[in-house]
C-alpha cells in the first residue's frame, strides 16, 4: 500500500487485492465527488461573478481552490486531487477567463499589485493561461514607457540626462513589478525584455545608441555629486539598457570616440569605473567588441610610466629650454580618428628644443617607431606679463601660437597670423575669436565671417581679478561633416563585418542556398547590429567579384566557396 492515510482510506483498501486496486474507490466515491463538485461550483461561480467585483471574485476563487485542495488531501486518494480540482478551475476560471483578461489591464494601470498577483497564480493553474497576461503586460509596458518618454522636452539642454533618467526610472519600476506581481516568472521577464527592446529601438530625436553613449561620457567625466557607488550602479544599469539596442555598433563608435576625448583631456573620473564599463560591455558582447577600448586604457597607463622615465631622462639631459613637456603617445589603430585638423602648425620656436629632446628620448626607448604629432590636441601653460600684472594662463597650443605673434608687435592682421602660425581658415578664426572672447585680444571686425583682412590688437584694458585663467578652447566643430563621417564609418565597418561573416559561413558550409546564407548571416550579425538584407546581398556580390565565392552554373540560387 503506497498511498498515505486519509478519510476514505477504507474505500481505497477495498480494492487493494484486485488487479486494478483503485477501481472500486473510483467508481464508488470519486466519480460522484467530482460530479457534485462541478455542479456545486458551477452554481457558486455564476452567482459570485454576478454579485462581486472582479477583485473580490478572484479572491474568492483563490480561497475556494485552496480549500478544495486541502479537502482533497484530507479525504481522498492523492490520485484524485487534480481530477477534482480540474472541473472547479474550469467553472471558476476558464468560464470567466475573458472577463479576467479584460480586467487585468485595468489592474496593471491602477497598480493593484495583490490583484495582479492573484490573477497570475490563478491562471498558472490553467494550461497556457498566463500567455495572454504576458502579452497584455508587454503592450502595457511598451505603451506606458512610450507615453512617458514622449512628454520629454527635446529642446532642453539637459535632455540627454533627462531622457536617461526617465528610462532608468521606468526600467527599475517595471523590474520591481516583474518581481512583486509575477514572482520573476521567466515568461513575464521575457515580456518585459521584449517591451524594452522595442522602446530602446524606437526612433527619437537623437539616436538612442548615441544618446546612451553620450550619457555614459557625461557620467565618466568629473563634476558630479554622486558617490562612486551610485555612479557605478547607474553605469551598470546603462549597460543593461545598452543590451536592448539593435545597433550596438553605433553605441561602440560613439562611446569609443567620447572615451578617446575624455582620456586625452585627462577628464576621466576614474580608471576603475572606465574598467567597470569595459568589463560589462565585454560580458555582453565579447572581447572583440571592447578590444580597442581596452587598448586605449592600457595606452594611458603605459604613458604614465613613460612620462615618469621621460622626466628622469630630461632631468639628466642638457637643458630643455626651461620648458616642461609631457606627451601622450597613442597606438595607431586603437584610437578612433580624432578629427584631424587641416592646419599645418608651425611649432613655436621655444618648444622645438623640448620636442626634439622628447623624440630623441622616445627613439632611444623604442626602435622602429614613427611619431606623428597631434598639435590640435596639445595644450600649454604660460605666464603672461601684461599691464604691469602677471597672469598664469592655460590654453591650447593653437591659442598659444596666435598669442605669440603679439610678443613682438601689438597688432597683427589675420593673414599675418596665418603666415606665422600655419593655421588655416576655420582653425584660425575660431582660435582668434576665442582669444577675443576672453578679452586678451581685440578685433576691428566681427570674426564670424572669416575676414582675412581683420586686424587684431592687444587689448590694453585687459584686466582680470584672478591671476590663474583657463582660456576656453574654441568650441570644436561637431558639424554635420562629423556626423556624416561617423555614418559612413559605421556603414563601412558593417560591410566589412558582413563580408567576414559570409566568408566564414561559406568556408564551413562549402555550398549554401541564397536564403540560408542570408538567414545565417543575419543570425551571426545580430549581436552587433540588425543587418539590412539589401546590404547582405551587396556584400555577397562583392565577394563574388573578389572571387571568394561563386554562383552555381545551373542553380543560380546556390553559392559555392572558392578555396
Amino acid at each position: 500500500m503506497c498511498t498515505g492515510r486519509h478519510g476514505n482510506q477504507g474505500a481505497v483498501e477495498l480494492g487493494s487485492e484486485t488487479k486494478e486496486p483503485l477501481l472500486v474507490y473510483q467508481k464508488l466515491l470519486e466519480a460522484a465527488w467530482i460530479f457534485r463538485t462541478r455542479s456545486y461550483y458551477e452554481q457558486e461561480a455564476k452567482q459570485a461573478i454576478a454579485a462581486l467585483p472582479l477583485s473580490e471574485f478572484i479572491r474568492k476563487a483563490h480561497r475556494r481552490l485552496e480549500e478544495e485542495s486541502a479537502r482533497c488531501q484530507r479525504y481522498l486518494d492523492p490520485s484524485s486531487h487534480d481530477k477534482v480540482l480540474h472541473p472547479m478551475i474550469t467553472e471558476y476560471i476558464i468560464q470567466h477567463a475573458d472577463i479576467i483578461y479584460a480586467d487585468f489591464r485595468t489592474m496593471l494601470v491602477k497598480q493593484q499589485q495583490q490583484d495582479c498577483f492573484i490573477i497570475y497564480t490563478l491562471l498558472l493553474r490553467v494550461k497556457d493561461g498566463v500567455l495572454p497576461l504576458q502579452t497584455t503586460f508587454e503592450t502595457f509596458i511598451t505603451n506606458e514607457c512610450r507615453q512617458k518618454l514622449s512628454t520629454l522636452d527635446w529642446t532642453s539642454p539637459k535632455i540627454i540626462g533627462e531622457y536617461v533618467d526617465s528610462l532608468i526610472a521606468l526600467y527599475t519600476h517595471y523590474t520591481t513589478i516583474c518581481e512583486r506581481y509575477f514572482a520573476n516568472d521567466p515568461g513575464f521577464v521575457a515580456a518585459f525584455d521584449k517591451a524594452f527592446r522595442a522602446i530602446l529601438n524606437d526612433r527619437v530625436k537623437i539616436r538612442q545608441p548615441e544618446l546612451l553613449a553620450r550619457h555614459c561620457d557625461q557620467l565618466l567625466r568629473r563634476r558630479t555629486r554622486d558617490t562612486a557607488q551610485a555612479l557605478e550602479e547607474r553605469l551598470v544599469t546603462m549597460i543593461k539598457l545598452f543590451g536592448y539596442l539593435d545597433d550596438k555598433d553605433i553605441f561602440q563608435k560613439c562611446y569609443s570616440r567620447a572615451m578617446a576625448k575624455r582620456l586625452i583631456a585627462d577628464a576621466s573620473i576614474s580608471e576603475e569605473l572606465e574598467m567597470t564599463v569595459i568589463s560589462q560591455l565585454r560580458k555582453l558582447c565579447g572581447i572583440d567588441f571592447v578590444g580597442k577600448l581596452h587598448r586605449m586604457l592600457t595606452d594611458i597607463e603605459l604613458n604614465r610610466d613613460l612620462n615618469a622615465s621621460w622626466q628622469a631622462w630630461s632631468g639628466n639631459a642638457s637643458d630643455g629650454g626651461g620648458i616642461d613637456m609631457t606627451a601622450l603617445v597613442l597606438t595607431t589603430g586603437a584610437w578612433p580618428l580624432l578629427n584631424q585638423s587641416q592646419s599645418q602648425l608651425i611649432l613655436p620656436s621655444m618648444l622645438e628644443r623640448s620636442l626634439s629632446n622628447y623624440t630623441a628620448f622616445y627613439q632611444e626607448k623604442f626602435t622602429g617607431r614613427k611619431l606623428t604629432w597631434f598639435w590640435h590636441l596639445s595644450k600649454a601653460d604660460v605666464r603672461m606679463h601684461h599691464a604691469k600684472r602677471r597672469y598664469e594662463l592655460s590654453m591650447t597650443l593653437y591659442q598659444l601660437a596666435v598669442l605669440l605673434c603679439f610678443n613682438r608687435q601689438s597688432q597683427c592682421s589675420l593673414s599675418e597670423i596665418r603666415q606665422q602660425t600655419g593655421l588655416v581658415a576655420g582653425d584660425l578664426t575660431r582660435t582668434a575669436k576665442s582669444l577675443v572672447d576672453c578679452g586678451i585680444l581685440r578685433s576691428d571686425t566681427a570674426l564670424d565671417t572669416e575676414p582675412s583682412n581683420a586686424l587684431l590688437s592687444i587689448n590694453e584694458q585687459f584686466e582680470s581679478k584672478r591671476t590663474r585663467i583657463k582660456i576656453n578652447a574654441p568650441s570644436p566643430v561637431e558639424s554635420a561633416q562629423e556626423q556624416t563621417t561617423t555614418a559612413k564609418a559605421i556603414d563601412d565597418d558593417r560591410r566589412l563585418f558582413l563580408q567576414a561573416v559570409i566568408v566564414r559561413v561559406m568556408k564551413s558550409r562549402r555550398e549554401l542556398l541564397h536564403l540560408d546564407l542570408v538567414s545565417e548571416t543575419i543570425q551571426l550579425a545580430t549581436p552587433r547590429f540588425n543587418p539590412d538584407v539589401a546590404m547582405i546581398k551587396r556584400c555577397i556580390e562583392q565577394l563574388i567579384d573578389k572571387q571568394f565565392i561563386e554562383r552555381d552554373l545551373t542553380n543560380r540560387d546556390l553559392y559555392r566557396y572558392v578555396a
Partner: protein, 83 residues
C-alpha cells in the same frame, strides 16, 4: 605684453616604421594587427627580412614553420629568409 611658456603637453600617435603599408601574408595593414591578434600595438610587431620584405612577425613565423615551406623561403621572392 610678454608671453612665456612654462610647460606644455602634447599628443602623438606612433606607427611602425616599415617600408610597406600592408603585410604581404595577411594583407592587413601594419597599423592593424595580424589575424590571430585582437588589438594592434606592441604585441603584434612587423618584421623585415634581409630582402626588405616585411610581414607581421606572427604571420612570417607561422609561414616559416608551416609544412609547405621546408626550405624556409620568403613568400615574396622565394629566397631563403634571413633576419
Amino acid at each position: 605684453m610678454r608671453v612665456k611658456v612654462k610647460s606644455w603637453n602634447t599628443v602623438a600617435i606612433w606607427r611602425w616604421e616599415v617600408n610597406d603599408d600592408i603585410c604581404g601574408i595577411c594583407r592587413n595593414p601594419f597599423d592593424a594587427c595580424c589575424p590571430s591578434c585582437r588589438v594592434p600595438g606592441d604585441d603584434c610587431p612587423p618584421m623585415a627580412g634581409q630582402c626588405r620584405h616585411t610581414f607581421h612577425l606572427h604571420c612570417i613565423v607561422k609561414w616559416l614553420s608551416s609544412d609547405n615551406n621546408p626550405e624556409q623561403l620568403c613568400p615574396m621572392d622565394r629566397q631563403p629568409w634571413r633576419k
